[in-house]
């Protein structure tokens, strides 16, 4: 159809004239985008090498991995600070962490779970009876993996499912401060994150706001405050809102509250968002959003933390859905291994930042490669794709912000020539 070609050419010409408004990303963000899925890394489909290759295809900056103290030290070590003590069982973590190291992937490690010999025979969610036992384990772990720079202490200690007694005082005195000192002694340049809070206290737990304040009073030592800003009502909560003004919960929509509370309690500490995700329906009928919405939020959350000051890390929780329907279903691929739209959104995020009339402000990142990366945008007009201006360059970390001309209801798409990949079609 010749008339379609003419329309497409005219639209492209108009959009190109609007392109002087396009620019590189506004600020140099230090945020790293990562993944956590220990079960998939250890037991997922294929080999460990193929799974790490999959992470490379996703262009993850960092992987979060958990060291379970209670599994690594089932027996009390004779010299708990010595990683070579015969009581320690590092085989599983050695396999995964050394493979990630070999692949050049950054890792943030979480230490969690008390062995029964350290807490009087209680389950792993009970705090150790003394501060020295955890300090010794943290020291041994840091000696075992001296190349790991980012460490976090415990997981969601504001929930009784993860820590009992569920008090910030116990957390700081028996876990965080001893762990912080031990890791810094072994690796002076390491960064240790504390908090690791769940977005809400729930039954028997403590809200993250109260937890942060109590940690401040308990004189917590930390280099970064870590938090998990899952949505409270996924049906309604986008990464941007609605924020809850009088709540003590902290979701991604309440990121401002996290920044303020951390600033008040600890000063200008860095922020690590070490778990985050949206489950999909199917299969999760209660908390799931549609796969398309999940993809949209993955890209939108990436921009949210990019713009937030002091946020250095956003870890997406799960590569693959849990095989159990009652499990967690926030994966980028289904339990059967089929990629969801979020898989593409994670590796090549593109989102609408705003609109002024026909001018649409786009934000995105080309995650493949390093340094300034080429990218190009195109728009779907009358069933045909038309390039919106020439190939441009991102900033040094792959981010870009661009303004294009596109009418309401159009579809735009990002092209990354370096890895030959297209983003999802973005409805603007």
């Amino acid at each position: 159809m010749r008339w379609r070609a003419w329309i497409a050419a005219l639209v492209a010409l108009g959009a190109m004239s609007a392109f002087p408004g396009a620019s590189s990303a506004q600020a140099a963000s230090s945020v790293q985008y990562g993944i956590e899925d220990d079960a998939w890394l250890q037991h997922g489909p294929g080999t460990l090498s193929s799974r790490i290759a999959e992470l490379e295809r996703l262009h993850v900056d960092i992987v979060r991995y958990t060291l379970h103290w209670d599994r690594i030290a089932r027996r009390r070590p004779a010299d708990a600070r010595d990683p070579d003590d015969r009581a320690y069982r590092w085989r599983t973590s050695d396999t995964v962490l050394n493979a990630l190291h070999k692949a050049g992937t950054s890792v943030v490690v979480t230490l969690v779970g008390t062995p029964s010999w350290a807490n009087g025979g209680a389950p792993p969610n009970w705090a150790p009876n003394s501060a020295s036992t955890f300090a010794s384990f943290a020291s041994a772990a840091a000696a075992r993996y001296p190349w790991i720079e980012d460490w976090t202490i415990w997981n969601e200690p504001n929930l009784p499912a993860w820590l009992r007694p569920t008090t910030a005082g116990i957390y700081v005195s028996r876990l965080l401060n001893p762990g912080y000192a031990a890791i810094h002694t072994r690796i002076p340049d390491a960064l240790v994150g504390g908090g690791m809070t769940s977005p809400r206290g729930g039954a028997g737990g403590v809200s993250p706001v109260a937890w942060i304040r109590a940690m401040g009073k308990a004189k917590a030592h930390l280099d970064a405050y870590a938090h998990h800003p899952y949505p409270s009502r996924p049906q309604l909560d986008s990464p941007w809102g609605p924020a809850c003004k009088r709540c003590s919960t902290i979701t991604m929509a309440d990121l401002g509250r996290l920044l303020n509370e951390v600033q008040r309690a600890f000063g200008s500490k860095r922020i690590w968002l070490t778990e985050y995700g949206y489950q999909t329906n199917p299969p999760d009928q209660l908390l799931g959003v549609s796969p398309a919405t999940q993809a949209q939020y993955v890209a939108s959350a990436a921009r949210r933390v990019y713009l937030a000051p002091r946020v250095d890390m956003l870890i997406y929780y799960l590569v693959q859905d849990d095989a159990e329907p009652t499990g967690w279903q926030s994966g980028l691929v289904t339990a059967e291994g089929l990629p969801k739209p979020a898989f593409t959104a994670f590796r090549l995020p593109l989102t609408e930042a705003g609109r002024t009339g026909d001018r649409v402000h786009l934000w995105g990142q080309v995650r493949a490669g390093s340094g300034q990366r080429p990218y190009r945008l195109r728009v779907l007009v009358a069933g045909r794709w038309s390039w919106l201006g020439p190939t441009r360059l991102t900033d040094a970390r792959g981010f870009f912000a661009a303004t294009v001309r596109a009418t309401h209801g159009s579809f735009v798409q990002l092209w990354s020539p370096r890895d030959g990949a297209y983003s999802l079609e973005l409805h603007v």
Partner: protein, 168 residues
């Protein structure tokens, strides 16, 4: 005697039959509701959850048991990471407050200050029917059933007696 006896026995027989018919009628009206209500114990919890799932609010009004069952049935991840427990608890409180406000209003003669509900809500509530009937306590339902049966049988007996007395 035999005739008299025959007439009395016919009267007793008719009265028993009419009582049974009345009981059947009242049971037909109220009974299936209560039966369904019992069977719907789990499904009404599911309705509360579905109501919450679509927009993070419980817009409809349900018997208290439905809210409680819904909370009890929440999977652990939903209970821990979402606001479902808070939202459903709040909806239950709101529902109970509305009920007590209406009850107080009915005793004082004031018009009930029921929560304003949208047409969607009204549709939803009516779709749950007969939850308004089913929400009645079983003891009260039993009283209604027995009273209804006694009334119908009494009226039937009265007319039968008048009919018999009128027979020459």
């Amino acid at each position: 005697m035999a005739g008299g006896g025959s007439g009395r026995s016919r009267f007793v027989g008719v009265a028993v039959v009419s009582t049974l018919c009345a009981l059947s009628l009242v049971w037909a009206l109220a009974g299936p509701g209560t039966g369904t209500a019992a069977a719907a114990g789990t499904s009404c919890a599911q309705r509360v959850l579905r109501d919450w799932t679509d927009n993070g609010r419980v817009d409809g009004m349900y018997p208290s048991k439905c809210y409680l069952d819904a909370i009890a049935s929440l999977p652990e991840d939903v209970r821990t990471y979402s606001s479902a427990v808070d939202d459903i608890s709040r909806a239950m409180q709101s529902s109970q407050q509305t009920d007590s406000t209406n009850a107080a209003a009915s005793t004082t003669g004031d018009p009930p200050q029921a929560r304003r509900i949208s047409s969607d809500e009204a549709r939803q509530i009516s779709a749950q029917s007969p939850s308004s009937v089913r929400g009645l306590p079983p003891a009260l339902l039993a009283v209604i059933v027995i009273a209804g049966a006694m009334t119908i049988s009494g009226v039937t007996a009265y007319f039968l007696r008048r009919w018999r007395d009128d027979v020459p």
